[in-house]
């Protein structure tokens, strides 16, 4: 696969290490992701779940929609079809991938099948790219799937895209119960990657542990120590300890100053959180 200019390429091995604050009341799948000892174990968890639902590949990325055309910003390739990804980006097939435009603003997943893509690619007035898109899907053995486009932090045009694909022909097998499992896998991975992607972390947080970043994020959202402790499933004592360490690190005396100091270092965006 040839990296394409302007796109940040990520794999599971490049993720920031997890300090595993396991939140209360979250899916078991998320707990398993957070408790995985290393990248290999995490991949086993995700691939196991993908196959159990009936999918072979999962693509995760961020795009910026410009005049209804997706411009890729980041791609996480660990579970993607390697041949498909290479062609998709080198030949800019994302520009004719109608699933981006069809995706609902509500975040509801869109189910697709190859026959539909082939049918649409032959419509009058469409260029060769559309046919190439259908041909490459066919050549890669991707015949049906679920496509989700979620609003991202950073602007109305920014979307996080999660696509699960299968070699099963026709879409009939993707019933609501399959969709429910697919959505849970997608949301678990989305939450996990949002916490671990280096570019999603504030620059000022270099050297901070994931738990300290989470505490700062909660602080920036106006949460009390008690609320932060609840969300991260920590004791109030542990939160207090990290607060003291953070105040020392940023050389400030209280939580208000800490929020300001951390926000200055992060341009105020990453700490405010978001999808």
């Amino acid at each position: 696969m040839t990296p394409t200019a302007g796109i940040t390429w990520m794999t599971d091995e490049l993720l920031a290490p997890a300090e595993t604050p396991v939140p209360r009341g979250r899916a078991q799948l998320m707990v398993r992701l957070l408790e995985a000892q290393d990248s290999a174990e995490r991949k086993q968890v995700v691939r196991g779940m993908l196959h159990a639902i009936g999918f072979e590949w999962l693509a995760y990325g961020r795009v910026s929609m410009q005049n209804d055309v997706p411009v890729p910003r980041m791609f996480f390739s660990s579970y993607a079809h390697p041949d498909w990804v290479g062609t998709y980006f080198q030949e800019r097939l994302y520009e004719v991938d109608f699933r981006h435009r069809d995706a609902s603003p509500s975040g509801l997943p869109r189910v697709w099948e190859l026959d539909e893509v082939v049918h649409r690619s032959t419509a009058a007035g469409l260029g060769r790219g559309h046919q190439r898109f259908a041909e490459q899907l066919h050549a890669s053995g991707m015949r049906s799937g679920v496509f989700m486009s979620l609003p991202s932090a950073g602007g109305a045009q920014e979307r996080t895209v999660i696509s699960l694909s299968s070699s099963a022909s026709q879409r009939g097998w993707i019933v609501d119960s399959v969709l429910g499992q697919a959505v849970m896998l997608a949301l678990c991975l989305h939450e996990y990657l949002s916490l671990r992607m280096p570019e999603a972390q504030p620059p000022a947080s270099e050297g901070l542990s994931p738990m300290q970043r989470e505490i700062l994020r909660g602080l920036a959202q106006g949460q009390s120590d008690k609320e932060i402790a609840y969300r991260l499933n920590l004791s109030a004592h542990t939160v207090d300890y990290h607060m003291r360490r953070l105040r020392q690190r940023f050389a400030v005396r209280n939580r208000v100053q800490l929020v300001h100091a951390a926000a200055r270092g992060s341009a105020g965006l990453a700490l405010a959180g978001g999808a």
């Binding site: 939140p23 209360r24 009341g25 979250r26 899916a27 078991q28 799948l29 998320m30 069809d102 995706a103 609902s104 603003p105 509500s106 975040g107 509801l108 997943p109 869109r110 979620l150 609003p151 109305a156 996080t160 019933v175 609501d176 119960s177 969709l179 429910g180 499992q181 959505v183 849970m184 949301l187 678990c188 989305h190 939450e191 949002s194 909660g218 959202q221 106006g222 949460q223 008690k226 609320e227 609840y230 969300r231 959180g273 978001g274 999808a275």
Partner: protein, 200 residues
């Protein structure tokens, strides 16, 4: 109630628009994004039929009630802007708004738009007034889902599925997945197919 019109009214305390099935005006055609629940809701001829469909779906997962609302200004407190009341427990909305319980409702803080659904139980509710009201009304466990709101980037959509079953042990990943799909389907139907009220 300050103003009322067919199926919608305003609760004065915070200016929240509360509306029910009777207010909805479904779109004529569905988009390519749909699920069996959306198709059934679309085909349903009346408000009572739609109400029965959603209640049946809720009961099949193990829930009795559902709140669907948009909240604003989540930097300080998540103030409800609109509340679809057709499946909410009696007295819940009125007291939640009158007593400004959204200010102390930990579930808003514990979820992010398109983060994972949160499973909760009554024992998790630390705030005394909120816990007392939930106890009085028999709201003992549930799933809280936070989503973005099409057309309103500063507002979050909250879908809260609530049960009288004690403890959250029964809410496994299967229940969470079905809850997430019900939440997304209803959100698509109400926000995209029908449109959200912008004043009444």
């Amino acid at each position: 109630v300050r103003v009322a019109t067919g199926g919608a009214w305003i609760v004065p305390a915070h200016g929240t628009v509360v509306y029910t099935e009777e207010w909805l005006q479904p779109a004529i055609a569905l988009s390519a994004c749909n699920t069996s629940l959306i198709r059934l809701l679309h085909e349903a001829g009346t408000a009572s039929e739609r109400r029965r469909l959603v209640r049946g779906m809720l009961a099949a997962i193990g829930f009795q009630w559902l709140d669907y609302l948009q909240v604003d200004r989540c930097d300080r407190a998540c103030v409800p802007v609109r509340w679809f009341a057709s499946h909410s427990p009696p007295q819940w909305i009125e007291r939640y708004l009158r007593e400004s319980l959204f200010e102390v409702d930990f579930r808003h803080r514990a979820t992010q738009p398109y983060g994972l659904p949160l499973a909760w139980e009554l024992a998790d509710v630390g705030e005394r007034r909120l816990a007392r009201l939930m106890h009085e009304l028999g709201l003992r466990s549930g799933v809280f889902v936070s989503l973005a709101t099409p057309g309103f980037p500063d507002q979050r959509t909250v879908v809260s599925l609530v049960s009288g079953a004690p403890g959250r042990g029964w809410i496994d990943d299967g229940v969470l997945g079905r809850s997430a799909m019900l939440a997304l389907s209803l959100h698509e139907y109400l926000a995209v197919c029908c449109g959200l009220p912008e004043g009444i």
